[in-house]
């Protein structure tokens, strides 16, 4: 599959007036992974993953199927090997257009909330746009905590700072590795709503082991299962996100996902 095959993805033909502005043009991404192994162990092979432009794609699966590895490959932490490739809808490299949110907040304990959000510019030796950092922090509801040090914040607040940092560089592609998994149910729900709103228009890969989270936020949901790992067909619930996980229409999707997940169990036993 070449980049021309991606032309069906929204965002691949940007209108002239905003062409080249990576913040406003959603970017479609395609990953073809021929083989991924750790030492002798084959984790997965022949995987094709499409991240439609401006949509949230959820990768769902138990631990050990290589979810995080896929994300690390897209982030450039693990180099591509062989014929594996990453293709973007504008035919430019994905490099430098990705931001990343981890399961742990990765806040710098000595720096204020604002400085944590602005750390990207500091690491590039640029003058940080503190105005923008403050605006984003207001968006995530931390207006009153701008100069606080992270150690006095709650887990949910810390993760909101991490979300603000992820949004700070305005990258078109956002990779999230189980960002809400360490939070209590209510905080998780609120942060999912917030993320759905603030990530609007961005191409997101969200890794999770929580089927409810995938159903709430995913425009497209893939289940990873088996050994070596296979990727399921895309599940595309109709409603706009964030969805109510208790709604009737999601029930069939839920049982579909659970069935796909339990196939993993069948493979193992």
């Amino acid at each position: 599959m070449t980049s021309s095959n991606l032309s069906h993805l929204p965002g691949s033909n940007p209108s002239p007036e905003n062409y080249g502005d990576q913040a406003t043009v959603p970017l479609g991404v395609e990953l073809v992974l021929v083989k991924l192994s750790f030492g002798e162990t084959l984790i997965l092979e022949n995987l094709e993953l499409i991240l439609p432009a401006g949509q949230i794609t959820c990768l769902l699966g138990p631990s050990g199927v290589g979810k995080t590895s896929i994300l690390k490959i897209l982030a450039g932490f693990i180099p591509l090997t062989g014929n594996s490739r990453i293709t973007c809808s504008d035919s430019l490299p994905l490099h430098s257009r990705v931001s990343y949110m981890d399961q742990s907040d990765l806040l710098l304990p000595w720096a204020s909330v604002v400085e944590n959000v602005a750390i990207g510019a500091r690491l590039r030796g640029e003058r940080p746009d503190l105005m923008r950092a403050r605006e984003i922090l207001c968006d995530v509801g931390l207006k009153d905590w701008l100069s606080a040090r992270p150690d006095i914040l709650s887990g949910g607040m810390r993760q909101r700072v991490a979300l603000a940092r992820t949004l700070m560089d305005d990258c078109p592609v956002v990779l999230m590795d189980e960002p809400f998994s360490a939070l209590d149910a209510l905080t998780k729900l609120r942060l999912q709503d917030m993320a759905a709103k603030l990530l609007h228009g961005k191409t997101v890969l969200l890794i999770t082991h929580d089927p409810i989270e995938a159903l709430r936020l995913g425009h497209v949901i893939h289940v990873l299962s088996g050994s070596p790992t296979r990727i399921s067909n895309a599940i595309r619930p109709d409603e706009a996100i964030p969805r109510d996980p208790a709604s009737d229409s999601l029930k069939s999707h839920y049982s579909d996902i659970m069935e796909k997940l339990s196939q993993t169990e069948a493979d193992i036993t």
Binding site: G76, Y100, P109, G120, L123, R124, G125
Partner: protein, 259 residues
């Protein structure tokens, strides 16, 4: 109460000392009573203070040089892997070679001034500072390094400048608590260097004064000098510890062994 505990311990030890001195009835050149030592301390305050200033200068200069060279070595070893094989044996040698063995050589080369004492002090301090800081620099979490490398993908600078910013904003701050532990150990052992240097060859300093008092069987003066040295060493540790905690308020392990 917390503040008084060290004071109570010290007073208790003095009482035991006074008791032993009184009961054993040893001549005062073997074990002078604490009362006599205190009297000597005040009688010869000017003499002792003069020598104490020399020793304190040596300790502080040794500490400054040892910490500075230790930090530079740790940064070099951490930033340039190949340097490790060249420098690490030297770092270990600095700790393994008994300072008593090289102090006479330093006196031979540099004379009776404070130079050899500062070098001996710096040599003792160099090791804990280098190892502490290096350990901290190498222990920055891989998740943080990954995040930083992703944020730096958009950088307009080259590899070396990016590496500099990574150290400046991530690695060095993360290593500061480990460096602080190294400096605490350094502050505790720093006086050893000065005293060893003075014993080998000097014309002033508390070590010099103690050596002479011992030779002339002025045991009370020896004890008085020892008290001053102990006071200086303990104060130095507490001041350094206090300063380090002020400098790193975000450090998780605020509880200290001695507080």
């Amino acid at each position: 109460m917390r503040f008084f505990r060290p004071g109570i311990t010290i007073i208790g030890l003095f009482l035991i000392w006074a008791l032993i001195a009184a009961i054993a009835g040893l001549p005062k050149f073997i074990l002078p009573s604490p009362q006599l030592v205190l009297v000597t301390l005040f009688d010869k305050a000017e003499l002792i203070a003069g020598h104490a200033v020399t020793t304190l200068t040596e300790i502080l200069l040794g500490l400054a040089f040892g910490v500075a060279f230790g930090m530079i070595s740790a940064l070099l070893i951490s930033a340039y892997r190949p340097v490790r094989q060249w420098v690490l044996p030297l770092v270990i040698a600095s700790q393994a070679i008994p300072v008593f063995a090289i102090a006479p050589l330093l006196v031979l080369w540099l004379g009776y001034g404070i130079g050899p004492k500062v070098i001996v002090g710096a040599l003792i301090i160099y090791f804990p500072v280098t190892i502490g800081f290096l350990d901290g620099l190498n222990r920055t979490g891989p998740a943080w390094i990954n995040l930083a490398s992703l944020l730096q993908q958009r950088s307009s600078h080259g590899r070396i400048l990016n590496s500099y910013y990574l150290y400046r904003h991530i690695k060095i701050p993360f290593a500061l608590p480990a460096l602080a532990s190294g400096i605490r150990i350094a502050a505790a052992v720093a006086p050893i260097g000065a005293i060893v240097g003075e014993w080998v060859g000097s014309s002033s300093g508390l070590g010099f004064l103690m050596l002479h008092a011992n030779a002339r069987v002025q045991t009370d003066l020896l004890f008085a000098s020892l008290l001053v040295l102990t006071f200086m060493a303990v104060s130095l540790y507490y001041i350094v510890d206090y300063g380090l905690r002020l400098a790193l308020p975000w450090q998780p392990d605020q509880k200290n062994l001695l507080s």
